[in-house]
């Protein structure tokens, strides 16, 4: 338990716990709505905001957050105002954001440690301020998700009948996109642009394999997410290997165990 006495590990663990609550929770709805591509899209488009921050000397995190939210609202608006399908809209905005990020970065010469951190994540480099921002935003997002979970579930199940039940499906959809955008950007800080969507998808996949009900699915997904982060951090510390990648590989390992466990239980029963 020596690693728990280190300040940077404490910060990493607290930020990881906060992200482990909201990414898998949102991942359940993302999985229900088959919109995993959205997570990847936000993460990659946020490069434009990160690059803008680096070039202007501002904090890249706030740039990524602004671009992430703009991406979410942009996808929502284009889905509603045009007849373009969701994956086309996301594909266009995702690659445009990425391209803009690359162009902006071309104005900045030399090695960019911030850029590498955002590409692959560095949970161990989380500062006290980062940790407080992540924990604060995660608490707000978790509360909103908890309150609107039933609405998001019904909308994911069948939007028309959710509307006839009296739900404001349009506004709730926009809220969902914004929550997802902010959460992905928070996750980018820890796991990086390339890996963040894995923590959105893997815990929900584990939950779906094992849960007997929706409440069970959300609970199991969050537990799986927290386990992947905790065990992954521990392994990365003792083996001295990259933390973000270890967290994702731990999650993938847990998914394989869940698949095998489910098959064995089904054969026995």
């Amino acid at each position: 338990m020596e690693f728990l006495t280190l300040a940077f590990m404490q910060r990493a663990l607290l930020a990881g716990i906060a992200i482990g609550l909201i990414l898998p929770f949102l991942g359940v709805f993302v999985s229900m709505r088959r919109m995993a591509f959205f997570g990847d899209g936000i993460a990659h488009a946020s490069l434009a905001g990160i690059a803008l921050g680096i070039v202007t000397g501002a904090n890249p995190f706030w740039g990524a957050l602004a671009v992430g939210i703009a991406f979410g609202i942009g996808v929502y608006a284009l889905e509603h105002k045009t007849n373009l399908s969701s994956d086309v809209v996301i594909g266009v905005l995702f690659t445009s954001g990425l391209a803009l990020g690359v162009v902006l970065m071309s104005f900045q010469h030399g090695y960019q440690p911030d850029l590498i951190t955002f590409l692959f994540g560095n949970i161990l480099a989380i500062s006290q301020t980062d940790m407080l921002v992540i924990a604060g935003l995660a608490a707000v997002i978790f509360s909103v998700l908890f309150w609107y979970a039933r609405h998001f579930t019904m909308i994911a199940f069948d939007r028309e009948t959710a509307w006839t039940s009296g739900m404001n499906t349009e506004l709730l959809n926009l809220l969902f996109y914004i929550l997802l955008s902010v959460t992905i950007v928070l996750g980018v800080k820890l796991l990086g642009i390339i890996l963040v969507s894995a923590l959105l998808i893997i815990p929900a996949a584990i939950g779906k394999l094992l849960a007997p009900s929706f409440i069970g699915l959300v609970t199991l997904s969050i537990i799986a997410g927290e386990f992947a982060i905790g065990i992954g951090l521990l392994i990365s510390y003792y083996l001295d290997i990259p933390s973000g990648s270890t967290i994702i590989l731990t999650g993938s390992g847990m998914l394989i165990l869940a698949v095998l466990g489910r098959s064995i239980v089904r054969k026995i029963l």
Binding site: M32, R34, R150, T153, M154, F157, D158, E160, T161, A162, W163, T164, S165, G166, K208, A211, P212, S213, F214, I215, G216, L217
Partner: protein
Amino acid sequence: MENAIEVTNVAFAYTSSLVVQEVSFCVETGAVTAIIGPNGSGKTTLLKLLLGILKPQKGTISVFGKQPKEARNFIGYVPQKFSFDRTFPLTVWEFLKFSHFECPSQKIEEYLNFFGMAQAKTALVGSLSGGQLQRVLLVRAMIHDPKILYLDEPSAGIDVGGEQTFYELVDRLHKQYKNTIVMVSHELDVVFHFATQVICLNKKLLCEGAPRDVLTPELLEQIFGMGATLYHHASLR
């Protein structure tokens, strides 16, 4: 008797051609109204206009004196197609509670019993048969005590046995709770025996009235083409 629904000169088009043309009719409170017509006649579009999912480009719709969108608390709706991911672990109980969170659990139990689905409350929605799913959707439509129940081709995709049970349940439901029911249906015999009012639609309103008065062989031929006639539905034998 007070009108539950008043439709006046309603027209709607998805693109340029009108799907619903200058339709006007009223539905009395407590009536069982069937909307019939051939495929593409605008039946489901009209139902979506009544529900407030679509807005008419012309004309007005009033549901108990309110715009359809404002009347959502008064209505229950069973859709024709309920397309969802069947692999998702959502229990029947969660599905009903999430739909109407404010509804007391006792009331949900009461309706599950009424529709013979009490044993299925821990079952996953994705594991239900077509008939069972329709009954759960009926429970869902009824648990907040709606004044109007809309059914869009409610027996589509159910086998004959399931259909029979379904119509018997809807009949019992109407007798016990006295709701106004508006249903889109293809089954003329069911309409003939079950509905108190029929609205014949083929983009325009072709007839409106009691089934015995308006469902003549000539009109059926005009709506559905040659050879259309009433047959004996299994549930009514």
